[in-house]
């Protein structure tokens, strides 16, 4: 069962949340970030090239221009490969674990998997940055102290959705976690 909704992130950009319910114990949430806008790309390229041209008129060395072109290309590729995240996915499988995937604009994917036995809870936390922002995070159990929390893993770091989107995801995750806890303590 698939479902798509559009939300906005904390900066005002448009996000698309895709929910897939594979089964009562397996759900996937996919957040697509706004794409690289042509306007910002043009602006950066133009500023870099204008600066290079200004240096060229000062130094009369044409290497500066070729260097500027090279730098722009390499910088763009690096940005797409290392920085720009297109999509963030959260996959919850009851009794197995939680997997978070970030796919970059160049196609690179980086995955993190957390076992269900390590997960204590999924909560929405508040943070005070320039304003108050909310983020969803996974609390991990502390092996030494049963009631403590050893680590906090934030989810959807690049997409940064707002509270309404987070509430949707939170509710679904809590259903699964409740189900998992019930079966874990059951027979």
């Amino acid at each position: 069962m698939e479902d798509e909704q559009s939300f906005s992130d904390i900066c005002g950009g448009r996000l698309a949340l895709q929910r897939r319910y594979y089964s009562p114990c397996c759900r996937e949430f996919c957040l697509s970030c706004p794409r690289l806008s042509l306007r910002s790309l043009t602006a950066v390229t133009c500023s870099v090239w204008l600066a290079a041209y200004g240096l060229f008129t000062l130094c009369e060395n044409s290497m500066i221009l070729s260097a500027a072109i090279f730098i722009t290309l390499v910088g763009l590729l690096g940005y797409l490969h290392f920085v720009k995240i297109d999509q963030e996915t959260l996959l919850i499988i009851d009794s197995l674990g939680i997997q978070m995937t970030s796919s970059y604009a160049s196609g690179k994917e980086s995955t993190t998997f957390i076992e269900m036995s390590k997960v204590k809870d999924i909560v929405i936390n508040e943070a005070i940055y320039m304003k108050v922002i909310y983020y969803l995070c996974i609390l991990l159990k502390d092996p030494v102290e049963p009631q403590g929390v050893s680590q906090v893993v934030p989810v959807f770091q690049s997409a940064k959705p707002r509270l309404d989107c987070l509430i949707e995801v939170y509710r679904s995750c809590q259903e699964i976690l409740a189900h998992q806890k019930a079966t874990a303590t059951g027979p």
Partner: protein, 654 residues
Amino acid sequence: MVLKAFFPTCCVSADSGLLVGRWVPEQSSAVVLAVVHFPFIPVQVRELLARVQQVSRVGVTVLGTWCHHRQEPQESLGHFLEGLGAIFSHEPWLQLCRERDSKSWTCKATRRQASAAADEDQVLLIFYDQRKVLLSRLHPPAALPDRQAGDATPSARGLAAVFDTVARSETLFRSDRFDEGPVRLSHWQSEGVEASILVELLTRASGPVCLLLSWLLSLLSAVSSCWVCRLWPLTFVGSKLSTCEQVRHRLEHLSLIFSPQKAQDPTQLMRKANMLVSVLLDVALGLALLSWLHGKNRIGQLADALVPAADHVAEELQHLLQWLMGAPAGLKMNRALDQVLGRFFLYHIHLWISYVHLTSPFIERILWHVGLSACLGLTVAVSVLSDIIALLTFHIYCFYVYGARLYRLKICGLSSLWRLFRGKKWNVLRQRVDSCSYDLDQLFIGTLLFTILVFLLPTTALYYLVFTLVSRAVWMLGLGLDTGLAQAPAPGGRRAGPDPSARGRGQLPAPVLAGPAAVPALQTGSWRQVPRPSARGWQASPPPDADEPPALQPRDAHLPPPQLRLPPQALVELPVPQALLRGAHLPLEAEGGQAGLRDTAAVRSGPGTLPSRPTPSGTGAGPAWGTSTAHRSWGLGAAPCSCSSPVCWGLPLV
């Protein structure tokens, strides 16, 4: 209740058969390792599983049936498969079924004893890549404080149990379809065991090669520890030259690498691997240096530059002495003593220069042969270089020794006579200063001598100061090389950093600090008490009793500290202050106790045995090596199932 079934991707297209694997009840998950195909005899299947279980200590059993309908669904096969559940009983019994060219599977898990809430278990099917899981061995997590001994090794928490199961049951994967066994299995290696010919050949060859090399090395160490080499001059010289030290280290490294015993655990394996790689790197760098040296006649140029350099140094020293013999820095020296000392040292320099000129025709040959030692490793070449520098500046060290000895004598005399001047005496028994009544003639002579020594003090002090500074300047040159040598890995697997308290040459020169500062201290006569280390810069323990040898700081981390017997009250009733070892040169204070040095050196540094110290630090460094996951990234050939055989020959080939 959800049941997780881990199914290998290589068995997706296999024929129908039995599922063989391990059931992990804590996570209610079934890890399928292989599929046994028809026809089979149940007894033989049971035997195979029992054998695998015995070798790998993984509880491998029959978990269920796998049905792959390639043609029309056969009803008879279905009944047959259900009948198998009666022969190999397992709780719960897994039944996986796949239609021909269909993406949907049927997964059923039935329990014999139906519970009251008898709903069928849900099956969560997880595909895993056997090869990748096998190749990524996880290191066992650090033991938690509340784990009992009952937490057996096969059971690890969570998904690590799955990894563990697959990694440990590699005996099951050894038979492929070309083997004529009674049971036909299907797993990731059933198309043919993955191996590389080179790795196999190396494995076979490494055994005899290791034995031969370790025999040769033992022969070498036996030769070096025979009685000829235990004579005192040789051991003394050997313990001073850092070349012998490095060669000994190298022998230790090599004998550890080529030892025919298997490495017991991953940390030891890593240590061996680390050592092998460092030795190879060292030798490669040494060979590069060798090729650079022997090209373009660089050795000839070096030899040509050596003698003029020595001459130049000698000339500078002569100028220095001429300056000292005049009125250095406007100080007025005692003429006679000045001339005597100056002429003595000048004669020394003359002797030294004649010696250097005598050996100048042979220097090039010597250098050429010594340069060949670089093929043993870069560290050996550097140690040879540092030894050459030490030998070439030996005369400067000699001057330092003479000046310091004279100064020491004078100071001893001065303090004792000062006490006499005040009417006191050092009590050996009580280790303190007592008053004493002297006779008149004793007082008279004592005062005379005291006056003489006092007036001769500036001359001696100046010579001492100048030569100490010069020898320390030379020592600083050698310090850089020795610090570089200290970075080489020790046989205990520990990277020995420049540990100033442990290495002789790395120590701060306490006599330098104490020298100028000790002059005012000595005039108050307080240095015979327990020296205050921080105030005066002595790196010393409290002064010993007359009979007990003090513990000195070890020369480096591998030799036990030589126990020296200091001459108590050799001259006058004063304890000689603590001696320090300084690299290749014993300070003069320690040489005063030559009697003690002779017998202790013969006892301690003779055999050149392995040190006993690094072992606790070696095991302490163990966890630091072993906490990374997936260490099997050697890239020397994909032979993951043969990891035990190269290990048993001590080579880190995986």
